[in-house]
Symmetry: C2
Subunit: 340 residues, 2 copies
Amino acid sequence: MDEATQGRTARVLIHDPTLRDGHHAVRHQLEAAQLRDYAAAADAAGLPVVEVGHGNGLGASSLQIGRARLSDTAMLAAVREALTRSRLGVFMAPGWGTAADLRGAITLGADVVRIAVHCTEADVTERHLGVVRDLGAEAHGVLLMSHMASPDQLAEQCGLLTELGAQAVGIFDSAGYYLPSDVATRIEAIAAAVDVPVIFHGHNNLGLAVANSIAAVQAGAQIIDATARGFGAGAGNTQLEVLVAVLERMGYSTGIDLRRLLNAADIAEERLMKAPPVIDSVSLVSGLAGVFSGFKKPVLDAARCEGIDPVDLFLALGERQVVAGQEDLIGDVAQKLKEA
Amino acid sequence: MDEATQGRTARVLIHDPTLRDGHHAVRHQLEAAQLRDYAAAADAAGLPVVEVGHGNGLGASSLQIGRARLSDTAMLAAVREALTRSRLGVFMAPGWGTAADLRGAITLGADVVRIAVHCTEADVTERHLGVVRDLGAEAHGVLLMSHMASPDQLAEQCGLLTELGAQAVGIFDSAGYYLPSDVATRIEAIAAAVDVPVIFHGHNNLGLAVANSIAAVQAGAQIIDATARGFGAGAGNTQLEVLVAVLERMGYSTGIDLRRLLNAADIAEERLMKAPPVIDSVSLVSGLAGVFSGFKKPVLDAARCEGIDPVDLFLALGERQVVAGQEDLIGDVAQKLKEA
C-alpha cells in the first residue's frame, strides 16, 4: 500500500492473552486439552508471548469471581508443555493474587509476568514487581480502566511502574471506551515519559479495537495485546489475526506466520468458544458508558431482577465510575433506578 | 470527549441497507413480516433512508445469482407500508436491473435510488440516472470495488456521475480492503471534484469498517452506509448502531435516536439473521486479497472440490483482480492452482 508505509521496518511485539482474557467468555472453564491445542497452534505461528490463566489472573479463582475448572498450576503446566518457541505469560492483580502465586508461576516456567492495577494505583505494585524481578522473569506493569485517568496521570503512573521495576508498561482499555484519538494522546504521553516498551490492550465495544491498536503503534506502543477471534468478555478483545494482517500490510513486522496464525484462530473458534464475540446492544452501551466489560452478566441479572432497562443501569454505573471489585454496587444502583 | 470534537455541529446522513446488503447473508430469503418489523423499528429510530431489495438490487433475482423469496414489488410494498418518516431506498446495478425495474420501484414509492457500477464504468449509468431524475426520485451514483481504481480515477468517475445526473456520489469498499488512510485519500479526492454529497460504504473484513467510515466523514463524506449488527455477506458491513454511537460521541449529528436504534438492531439480530457476521479466516483473507465478499461461498466450494486451500484461491483471485460477475473464473483458477 502506497499510503500506508509509516511502519516499514518497525517491529511490533504481539502479546496473546487468548487463554487468559478469553477465559472470561467461558467462565474460566477451559480444559487442559483446549489450552494445549491452542497454545501449540499459537507457538507454531510464532506468537512471542502466550498468556494463560483465570480471566482475572493468578490466584483469582474463587466463589465470588468464579472458580476456574483448572488450578493455576494445571493451566500453566498444560501450556508450558505445548510451547517450544513462544514465551509463557501470566497476569496477576494484587489483591486477587499474592507473591506466593507469582513464585509458583515462575517456578512452573512463566517467562513474562503482568502486574495489573487500577489506573491510579501504580504504587501498590512495588512488592510484586520486585518478586518478579528477583526471580528473573520479565516484569510488565499495566494500568486497568485507563480511560478514567488523564494522559498526564497515566504517564506519571507508568513512570512510577518503571521506577518500581517494570520492564514494559502500558494501558488497558478495560471498558472498550477509547476512540483512536484518545489512544494516541495517551500512548504519546506515556512513550514520552518512559524508556521501556509501551503496551496497549484494547477491547472492541465501539468496533474500534483494531483501529485503536494501530493508533497505539503509530503513537509509539511496541507491545500490543490481541486474542484469537477477539475471544474475550462482552464485545471481546482486539482480534489477533486481523490485527497482524493489518499491521503487516502497513509495513510493520510482527514475526508471525499469518497462515499458521489463521490456523490457530480457526482452532480457537472451534475448540475454545461457543461463538466469537459480537458487539450486541448491551456491550455497545457498556463501552460508551465506560463500564468494565466483566460487569455485563451481573448488570443484566440486576436489571432483570428490578425490571429496569440494562441500558439505563450501564449509564448510571458509568456516571458513578464503578471499577472491577465494586460488583456489589450494581444491585444498589439498580434498586435506586427502580425507585426513581 | 475533549480530543474528539472535529465533528461538532456537522451532520452525517446514515443510509441503511440492512434489508438489501444484509440480504446476501441469508440468500435473499427474508419474508415480508421480517422486512416490515425491521423497517418499522428503523423508522421509529429516525433512520433517514431504509433500503430494501435482493442483495444485488432490483431485477437481480435469478437462478444464477440466487432467487429472492419475494419479488421486488412485494419487498418494496412491505417496507413502504412500514415507513412513516424514513425515505425508502433501492439499489440497481445496470445489467441486472433495467429501466423498467426503476420505473416500477419509483411507482411503488422508492424515494432514493442508487445506481451502482464497477468503479471504472460510470458512463454506463447515463440512461438509468436519467430515468430516476425524470421520475423525480433522488439519484445516487456509486462505484463498486473502488479499491481497484486510484483516487484520481475515482474522482473523475464521480465527476462523470454528477454530470449524468447523480445528486450524491461515492464509493463502496466492496471487498473490505481499505485501511483508514486509503479511505481518507479517496474521499478527499472525490469531495474536491464534486459539489454533491459524497457517499462511503464499508465492509468489515479487516475489522476497520467503523474506523474507515469515521475516516470518510473526516475527509468530507456526508452519507455513510451501515447495517444493523453489520448484517451482510462475509465479515459484514459497517455496524450501524456502533457507527451512530461513535459519530454522536465525536460530536457529529445523525438525527437518530440511539435507544430506538439499539432496539432496531436487537430486532435485526433476533428476526433477520442466524448470527451476526464474524471475521473468520476466509473473510479476512478475502479482504486482504481485495476479492468481492460475495465470492466467499463459490470460492469455498471450488477449493473443496479441487482439494486446495481456499486462502490460496482467494489470493490468486485477488492477483487476477476478479470482479462480481466473473464467478465463472473461480473454477478455472482453482483448477490451475491444483495443477500447479
